[in-house]
Subunit: 290 residues, 2 copies
DNA sequence: AGCTCTTATGAATCATTGA
DNA sequence: GTCAATGATTCATAAGAGC
């Protein structure tokens, strides 16, 4: 078996990537810091400056991505003064001008979105997962995501517990998944461009930007084993941990030193997890269990 | 009981609305012709020209909508040459320049979306429902659209024990205090900005732009009984039929005569009036309708 | 195992207060 | 006034504990 490498690099991706050659990566999947009024958070920048800040970075992404590669950008605009901010729309337009193709917009439906109540707004339960490409002919393994539950379902088809039905329904939302028994021997269904995932609510001290299932899904869809994944805003290292577990090489870049430390721990545990064949949650709490 | 009126008017909404006074409508909800679909029937509306075509119409919408009213625009860009077209993004930006507030973007998740398979694209299972307003203080009846609560509340409300009010400590972190008193006597929760509705599989010959549940939801949310709803691209009349059933007055405008006929059938005899653009004079098509 | 019940918590938003 | 910080509101999910 070939060795799988996962690197976490401390620095600003615009600088770090400038030292990489062209056409290195098969997939870029990331959840950049959102524009925010609060200056003291993660490098917080004003929404008005966001596009200007992003473009030099995406220029590097465009260069280091293979022609058959894909760039997935998870982002959502905040409400401000009663309005949705338009910086994401402007970013899409600017990226197209930069040379990207705006291939698709996936919706991540956050089933357990943040609570709250306001006089003229409901809770925000979705985020954008924007797909950009360099060419129309990119790699896409549709079959890899045909079985939403993966090996898990095959192992459990015999028992047919209540939870099996529930989890299947929540993944597919297709209306025909009432009973997992119907699924046996049936032709597998392709997913749509709407992803139903819960955010992770674990007892951890630091929060991941997105749940592991999100990068996992895109890595399955847009890469093969042995390919190389980049997350230029890797945060606590979720993307690299998932990539390693799935036997994809990965490079994660993070500007905040304290996150880099966490990210490296995550990889180490993930490496161990290769033998476990356990779920995501097992890996999260791995240190407790072993 | 006051009488509820439903009018279907044959004509182009930009002309028809010019004869209406300011501030007439409480809600505008519509699903306009998509840019690339009915190109031949609507006079060559290429995506590139869409914004230009739309703005004179939305200028009328802005004028005839009450300050407390809401404009809901159901729209989705199609994929063309492997890319999503950007005309909807450009439209949002243009509408803001025109004076609209872009208050929210609801996602309509189409549970049973159109089947099909493509080499590098999954089925499109969602559409945008863009919410625009004239002011920040618009009418919104949140209680009217509440949904059954998750199961956890049922069990929870019986016990009402202990530290249900804890987490109020609220010193570190922006964690919520959970004040169980807010749940007493409640069986329903507020929805989110993601709508899960199936498309309708009716046997009608025309293709319904949206299922009845969609205008119904927004009419519930943004109007009271006796209010007045406008659909400037009413098509087969779905919006007016729903409005009448919910005891809201409505005006539907449609440029295609054959759709006007269908719309007429949808509305109970005696409760609707069908007008021709440009006045009540008997004209060429008048005999067909009356 | 397989239930139920308990508990923790998350890329949120707005009105108000303070500098 | 303009901008930043604080307080108030709230629900789906999963881990863990108990039976």
């Amino acid at each position: 078996m070939r060795e799988i490498k996962a690197e976490i690099i401390h620095g600003d991706c615009v600088n770090v990537l400038s030292e990489y050659s062209d056409n290195m990566f098969d997939l870029i999947v990331t959840s950049p810091p959102y524009a925010d009024k609060r200056k003291n958070t993660y490098g917080g920048m004003a929404p008005d400056k966001y596009v200007e800040w992003f473009l030099p970075r995406s220029e590097q992404f465009l260069r280091v991505l293979k022609p058959t590669g894909t760039f997935i950008l998870n982002i959502k605009e905040k409400a401000e003064n009663g309005e949705r901010h338009t910086f994401v729309l402007e970013l899409i337009l600017a990226l197209r001008k930069q040379g990207w193709l705006w291939t698709e917009e996936f919706i991540w439906h956050k089933k357990n979105c943040y609570p709250g109540k306001w006089p003229n707004r409901f809770r925000d339960a979705w985020e954008r997962c924007l797909q950009f490409n360099k060419t129309r002919h990119f790699k896409m393994n549709q079959k890899a995501v045909m079985v939403p539950m993966g090996d898990w379902a095959n192992a459990r088809l015999k028992s047919l517990g209540k939870n099996d039905v529930v989890r299947f329904d929540s993944q597919v939302r297709s209306g025909f998944g009432k009973n997992i028994a119907n699924w046996v021997g049936r032709e597998k269904a392709y997913p749509t461009n709407v992803l139903h995932l819960a955010t992770e609510c674990s007892n951890k001290e630091h929060s991941a930007a997105f749940p592991e299932a999100l990068p996992e899904w895109f890595i399955k869809l847009f890469t093969d084993e042995g390919d190389t994944v980049l997350d230029p805003f890797v945060g606590s290292g979720t993307t690299c941990a998932v990539a390693q577990r799935m036997r994809r090489n990965s490079v994660g870049i993070e500007i905040l030193a304290e996150y880099c430390g966490l990210a490296k721990e995550d990889i180490a545990v993930g490496d161990y997890q290769l033998f476990e064949k356990g779920g995501r949650n097992a890996r999260r709490n791995g240190s407790k269990n072993h």
